[in-house]
Symmetry: C2
Subunit: 221 residues, 2 copies
């Protein structure tokens, strides 16, 4: 491997057996027909799975919708470009003349595509387990921020924490009505906080309570 | 494992160590709060990666766009539902009363979601390598059809084969014009087949030829 690329490997925290993969991952389509677009296709799928599995394992109570939303925030171009900048990836890209002149090495999409391509390159150079470990290490700060974020907590928990922070009394939930056959019931629940009241209907008591808490948070916000 | 589920494992060609994963994968959200939606999220990401890698390895000349198109045809709901039907998955689904009455076990989205969930379940029950082998085995017919399909061949190859099949003379490509600076040239190329002519512009001679061949195929079709 040429010495500059070896420096990049140090920054990445991954040493390539076959540096050609890394070189291909750094090559924008403006520079060569043999460029990083195919590796980006592979890396995108890897990143999606690695994050899906991480979230699945670490958020056992999150719904499919919550998992999707969290993953979207982790794999979006902006997040990837930020990571690429922290690795100074722009310094290593191979760009065509046109892109060089127009400052393509700073462009978000070019940076995020190259990082996805490197994920694909790491996989081809090693295996799924090693690639996953490397990606999770790369993302460790982002994943830490995620786990401390409140967005995953359910509305009842958020409402309780919101009120406790102000040392206010906790909400009261009352079931106002239960309708329908036993296998298809609907529950009407109210959430009471001092003089405020919100009402919601759900297919279970729990769901109706969560929805009434969510509406209460909106009223309080 | 209860005897009926053991029969399903035979049909699937995969024997679960932890049958609870399979049970969860077969449970529609209409039947239980502990249902297959989270497993489907994981299985969808697995399927996308397994197909991305397969196509990347088996179609070394396909562009990223072609790889994406091929994968979309493999992972779409229709393809998954067809596979699910061939496994008689509908017989094993756990559905709520409402879905049972309305024939949910036949519905395409319910079948394809359950199959994706089973892919997630196989992964959690084994590892990436075993899950990949199982999915590729499940897809073997679809992948065979893919490799014999002409859609991956480039337009020049398709045009040549089309003409040869009719024992007609091969097309002639002429460069009509080259414009622009060396790093940003555009090529105008014509494709001639007997008295027919098509013209196309591209950033390389090869691209312009391919596009003129594609237009010729449209004229001949």
């Amino acid at each position: 491997m040429n010495p500059p690329l070896a420096r990049l490997c140090t920054a990445l925290g991954y040493c390539f057996q076959t540096p050609e993969w890394l070189e291909e991952a750094l090559t924008h389509r403006s520079a060569s027909a043999r460029n990083n677009e195919r590796l980006e296709f592979l890396g995108d799928a890897l990143l999606n799975l690695i994050m899906a599995e991480y979230l699945f394992q670490h958020y056992p109570k999150a719904s499919e919708g919550e998992l999707s939303r969290l993953r979207a925030s982790l794999v979006k171009g902006e997040t990837l470009a930020e990571l690429a900048r922290s690795l100074k990836l722009g310094d290593w890209l191979r760009l065509g003349q046109g892109e060089l002149k127009s400052g393509g090495y700073r462009r978000e999409s070019i940076l995020s595509d190259a990082l996805e391509a490197i994920i694909g390159a790491v996989y081809l150079d090693s295996d799924f387990g090693a690639c996953r470990d490397w990606v999770l290490h790369l993302y460790q700060d982002g994943l830490m921020r995620l786990s401390s974020a409140s967005e995953l907590k359910d509305p009842k928990t958020r409402l309780q924490e919101y009120l406790q922070a102000d040392q206010r009394p906790l909400p009261i939930y009352n079931v106002l009505e239960i309708r329908g056959e036993p296998h298809a019931q609907s529950f009407t629940v109210e959430c009471v906080v001092a003089k405020l009241r919100t009402t919601a209907i759900g297919s279970s008591r729990r769901k109706a309570e969560q929805e009434s808490a969510r509406l209460m948070l909106e009223q309080l916000a």
